[in-house]
């Protein structure tokens, strides 16, 4: 089975006036299907930057990336947007749900917007996903009426809506209390285990990393311990 993520020599340099800052200096990273990987590193180590590059939200200065066997560095802006929509899932620290829409509508949004409308099939899948994340009783609640943990569950369901090959989570429990954070982590572990969904979770929290199947640590713009080769999920 081919790697879900195969990144080589990823480097990025930011310019601030005359000052150049090299944040990533040739990162090599591979993720196999079904991995639940924690991307660790100190603040400013470039883990969010790496996540953004893998999520096609940022173009690297150097390196190559293949996601599910497809090279993506040469894609146009429109093609990258389509790729993100169809093959990647995102979970952010701040859920960024659309406050004027219900939980079901939020989950179905990534499919409904490109299709030009929400079909019964989309609605059905959104409701199934909400049930999957334990939100059966809040499906028709507006996002503003949900708690922080509930919103993050909806965000997880939304990330899974288009059956992505890779789910990228940036500090998904960062804005939650410990209980809610544990519930969200348990949910992601469960989805990873049962659905064989591949997760790359960016976190600075050892507690989160400890519950993942693999740790990838960034330090000084490199992956600590040399190139990271995937290990099968337990």
């Amino acid at each position: 089975m081919s790697a879900v993520l195969d990144a080589h020599g990823i480097g990025i340099t930011f310019r601030n006036g005359d000052e150049l800052t090299e944040v990533l200096k040739g990162v090599d990273l591979t993720l196999e299907p079904g991995e639940l990987a924690a991307l660790l590193g100190a603040s400013g180590s470039g883990k969010s930057t790496l996540l953004s590059i893998v999520g096609l939200l940022l173009r690297p200065s150097t390196g190559t990336i293949a996601i599910a066997g497809q090279r993506v560095e040469g894609l146009s802006e429109v093609e990258r947007a389509v790729f993100r929509n169809q093959r990647l899932g995102f979970i952010f620290q701040f859920h960024h749900l659309l406050p004027d829409f219900t939980a079901t509508e939020n989950v179905a949004f990534p499919t409904a917007a490109p299709a030009g409308g929400m079909t019964a099939v989309m609605r059905q899948r959104a409701r199934e996903l909400l049930a999957r994340v334990g939100m059966s009783d809040r499906m028709d609640f507006r996002a503003t009426r949900l708690s922080g943990g509930q919103k993050q569950r909806v965000a997880i369901a939304r990330a899974l809506m288009n059956k992505p090959e890779l789910v990228l989570a940036d500090e998904p429990t960062g804005s939650l209390d410990r209980v809610a954070a544990d519930q969200v982590l348990d949910l992601m572990r469960e989805i990873n285990r049962e659905d064989k969904a591949t997760f790359l979770i960016c976190t600075h929290d050892e507690h989160v990393a400890a519950r993942c199947t693999r740790r990838i640590t960034l330090k000084d713009g490199h992956v600590e311990g040399g190139p990271q080769v995937a290990k099968p999920s337990s």
């Binding site: 953004s52 999520g55 939200l57 940022l58 429109v78 947007a81 389509v82 790729f83 993100r84 929509n85 169809q86 990647l88 899932g89 995102f90 952010f92 701040f94 960024h96 659309l98 406050p99 004027d100 829409f101 949004f109 990534p110 409904a112 917007a113 490109p114 299709a115 030009g116 409308g117 929400m118 939304r158 990330a159």
Partner: protein
């Protein structure tokens, strides 16, 4: 269309703000409708006042000009002398009238003999502009018979109709005889059959109507007429129709607009002022829409960022904001047109103590279609800037904020 659903949700998410925005648009449109109806109403009233008692096109013989006859290098030249005694006239007026009768734009035709005369009553003498017409077509150009305040409008063979001011000046009343003296020095005793009051000082003080048959010997015109007055169904076509008549008959054709150049200038200036006010009211509406949508786009940066992150196209984001502008424009313009019509209709019912309209407003002339289309189009254009700004948001930057 899903973008429409999103746009609608965004607008309904803050009903008070949306209501205020729509109210602002509606107010601007109401002002536009009011100004348009007022200016059009004023123009209609002034035009009606001017054209109600006069012809829309007047046909007269071309002005005669003295000229040198023969070639320029001839030793002996002769000069075409103009007889000042012979009155200018349209001899073939019957054929011209026949031509006019075939024109669908013409509503009334009145061949006339116009000239100057004096009315003499004892010691009192008053100059008058004489209009000699066919008694059967007395009201063709000016509704004189409806404006008779004393006597009647039956001219007969020896009758004359005079204005109320002229009657006062000469101390005349209906039924009294008066000496009629033409500019050719021919006298005839006529009877004042009726006294009219048009409300226009120039007519009530200076004009006298007699029968065209009575006028022929008095003005030494046994066959011809001096002018043919024409009324049209649409007075605004007078200028182009005058050009047509001049080309068709060779006569000098003067439209009412040419005769009232000052009025036309005033109406044009008034229309230009109104246009300025309309433009400013539209601009203020559009600035309101643009600023409100810009604020909305800014407030929703996070949401737009996440949409872009999960691959929603820039076009979709732009469509959401443009559709908000469209909705605001359509609803605001619709309400504004309706409230403008109601306001103008109410103002049109207000009257002065003498029964005339307090405001010369024409509710049907509010420019509703124009303002609706302009506002809707403008609202869409005003939303383009915030839409572009939202669509161009860097998703990463927006999410991190």
């Amino acid at each position: 269309m899903f973008a429409f659903t999103v746009a609608r949700r965004y607008l309904f998410s803050n009903p008070a703000q949306t209501a205020l925005l729509i109210a602002g648009v509606a107010l601007g449109v109401t002002a536009f409708v009011f100004i348009t109806a007022l200016i059009q109403g004023l123009a209609i009233r002034l035009t009606d006042d001017v054209t109600a008692n006069s012809a829309h096109v007047s046909l007269e013989p071309m002005t005669r000009v003295a000229r040198v006859l023969g070639s320029g290098d001839a030793d002996v030249e002769s000069i075409a002398i103009i007889s000042t005694f012979q009155r200018r006239q349209i001899r073939a007026w019957s054929s011209t009238v026949e031509l006019l009768r075939t024109q669908s734009a013409v509503s009334a035709i009145s061949p006339q003999i116009s000239g100057s005369a004096f009315l003499v009553k004892g010691e009192a003498v008053a100059p008058v502009a004489v209009t000699a017409i066919d008694p059967a077509g007395l009201d063709a150009i000016s509704p004189i018979s409806t404006q008779i305040v004393s006597g009647d409008a039956n001219l007969g063979a020896d009758g004359v109709l005079i204005g109320v001011r002229l009657a006062e000046d000469l101390g005349l009343s209906a039924g009294q005889p008066v000496l009629f003296r033409t500019d050719r020095g021919i006298d005839r005793l006529l009877v004042v059959r009726g006294i009219f009051q048009t409300g226009l000082e120039s007519l009530d003080e200076r004009v006298a109507y007699i029968s065209i048959q009575t006028a022929r010997p008095l003005f030494l015109l046994p066959e011809g007429v001096t002018n043919i007055e024409v009324k049209l169904f649409d007075p605004h076509r007078a200028r182009e129709f005058a050009v047509f008549l001049h080309q068709a008959t060779g006569l000098r054709a003067t439209s009412w607009q040419e005769r009232n150049a000052n009025l036309e200038g005033a109406l044009t200036a008034q229309a230009q002022t109104g246009t300025l006010i309309q433009v400013f009211s539209l601009i203020s509406v559009l600035i309101g829409i643009a600023s409100a949508l810009s604020l909305s786009a800014n407030r929703r940066r996070g949401e737009v960022g996440i949409m872009r992150a999960f691959g929603v196209s820039k076009l979709f984001i732009a469509a959401v904001f443009i559709l908000q502008g469209l909705l605001i424009g359509v609803v605001g313009a619709g309400i504004g047109c309706l409230s403008g019509f109601v306001l103008c209709s109410w103002l049109a019912t207000l009257t002065n103590p003498d029964g005339t309209m307090a405001l010369p407003i024409a509710p049907s002339e509010g420019g509703y279609v124009a303002v609706f289309l302009l506002t809707t189009l403008g609202a869409v254009l005003a939303s383009v800037i915030p839409a572009r700004s939202a669509a161009r948001l860097d998703p990463l930057e927006a999410i991190q904020q």
